[in-house]
Point group: C5
Chain length 100, copies 5
């Protein structure tokens, strides 16, 4: 999985019929030091993630291992909202600090 | 999923038999600021996308989660025509503005 | 799918038993302007492609969606010989012109 | 598979329900000479790997070929803790030396 | 598939139980001119490849299309030992020449 910040949304009316009801989030990828990268992914939301939250997302067939998405043509999905990222003794990210 | 602009078509007569009737679109990838990238993908069209439209496409086995494509040797498919892309309060792309 | 030019072959006697009879083509990738890239893929041939022909190839599990290859350990396959590539009003490639 | 050093953990409360109990490790990738790379992966732990250990991890659907993870939306998993890496006559890494 | 030279081995005692008996080879990737690249892959051996041999390897779910590996968490496998690589009239690699 990669780490990303939710930065926007993508809206589509004319789409593959099975995608009705799928929310597409625009994610900006984050490196292991917590810096934003110039890379993005559009991922289906499955956990109710909101703008500015940091999330884990999966690519590939993993994106369809979610109740209701088994047959959708998705190759990326948000699977978790991150509380903390720690490396050794350092706290790289904490959701609580972000919103304090 | 990644964002791309439909920029052309690829035509083939001699192909894997199961691909009869599949339309191949030449897509130019777009970055998260809406700038065209020097990268492309040839993807099966499943939603009737036309030249210059911006689309979402999926790679990998997701490309076969489309009615009629389950057994085709496809690794990329257009899954949605994009109406709008928003990041925070900014509107990065709007189909309506494009065609006004 | 990506576009490539068939530039050679790879021959192997000692291989996974299920690969007996599989022809391995050496493909050089082509960019969206029709220029050769310094990247290659070795792909199974399923359509009878010959040296110098331009082809579409698929990566990943798509390479096994071909009659007889379902259980082979392949991650790339040629799926179509290209007749033409068009972008807007420009003809980027035409098989007919190439062999004229 | 790629080689990585376990450098941290990612914690999430709000996640896809099937991920309850999954431990997420932050891995820093290692090149073939044993040097740390500026790339990371967040992978599910299946072998009890600890901080500073070197591991092999798999990406893609392989991450779900683990007892209990078959239906989890995972695209990366630690599959082995490395004892030694040898190239020709050189020992590039030895777990025993690391902890001596 | 990509071309690689077998350059070493990775040994692990503590691993996912299904991997017992799997031999992990350290592969160094080779470009289309036969030059070694600064990239590697750790792949399961299924064909008895030895040090310095050139091989084809597959990534992704293809690595599990091998008798006995169907349920192993592998994302890369050596599938063939290369005899020759030809591009046009040039012989880029020949196993016979290498060992003469």
């Amino acid at each position: 999985m990669q780490i990303a910040r939710v930065c926007g949304t993508v809206v589509s009316t004319q789409k593959e019929p099975s995608l009705t009801g799928t929310k597409f989030l625009l994610l900006q990828l984050v490196d292991q030091e917590g810096e934003l990268l110039p890379e993005y992914e559009v991922a289906a939301d499955t956990v109710g993630a909101g703008i500015d939250e940091w999330v884990l997302f999966s690519r590939g067939s993993a994106a369809r291992q979610v109740l209701g998405s088994e047959k959708r043509p998705l190759d990326a999905a948000v699977i978790a909202i991150i509380d903390t990222i720690s490396a050794g003794n350092r706290l790289i990210y904490s959701k609580r600090d972000q919103y304090r």
